[in-house]
Amino acid sequence: AQSVTQPDARVTVSEGASLQLRCKYSYFGTPYLFWYVQYPRQGLQLLLKYYPGDPVVQGVNGFEAEFSKSNSSFHLRKASVHWSDWAVYFCAVFLTGNTGKLIFGLGTTLQVQP
């Protein structure tokens, strides 16, 4: 069955340090993948999207992600974390066909230490 796994419920990094949030997907077919960010009491904001093509995609605020078919992964990275990046990050896979829905991971909470 299609699924998304974010193995780290919480990640803590120091401000200015680099970041990687992990995402593994299970999907039969060509995946379309997304990362969303959720700030407290807000909806989800689209960070970046992967449509089949270049495996490294750029997003907003310096985020990028790399797709790996062999590893079934779509990890999120940022070179230098800012305190304002403290939020919950969700990875999602889009189910093609007639459904059109997103399957989400459970999310990773990023905490930023000063």
Binding site: L46, T99, G100, L102
Partner: protein
């Protein structure tokens, strides 16, 4: 562009009462989705409209939940006889759905609390 608009932002109902949640998608988007978010279950798909037609309601609890999209500018999610387990944040999203653009844009959500 105002983004996806959801009203109300917060709703409190008593057990057994009805709750109606409203969503206004981004103008020009052809697809509208409803999701439910809880701490335990995370983000769950409920239902999906394309060009106002219901396409997939596989995530909807069948007995008390219903969704409609009477026109291209709004969709409603209605929960009859609300139960405490219906307490959640209900998120609406819209998508261009054209030209291969599949990304979904979410509203701020409606937090439903059933006492």
């Amino acid at each position: 562009n105002a983004g996806v608009i959801q009203t109300p932002r917060h709703k409190v109902t008593g057990k057994g009462q009805e709750a109606t949640l409203w969503c206004e998608p981004i103008s020009g988007h052809s697809a509208v989705f409803w999701y439910r978010q809880t701490i335990v279950q995370g983000l769950e798909f409920l239902t999906y409209f394309r060009n106002q037609a219901p396409i997939d309601d596989s995530g909807m609890p069948k007995e008390r939940f219903s969704a409609q999209m009477p026109n291209q500018s709004h969709s409603t999610l209605k929960i009859q006889s609300t139960q405490p387990q219906d307490s959640a944040v209900y998120l609406c999203a819209s998508s261009p759905g054209l030209g291969g653009r599949l990304e979904q844009y979410f509203g701020p959500g409606t937090r439903l609390t059933v006492l």
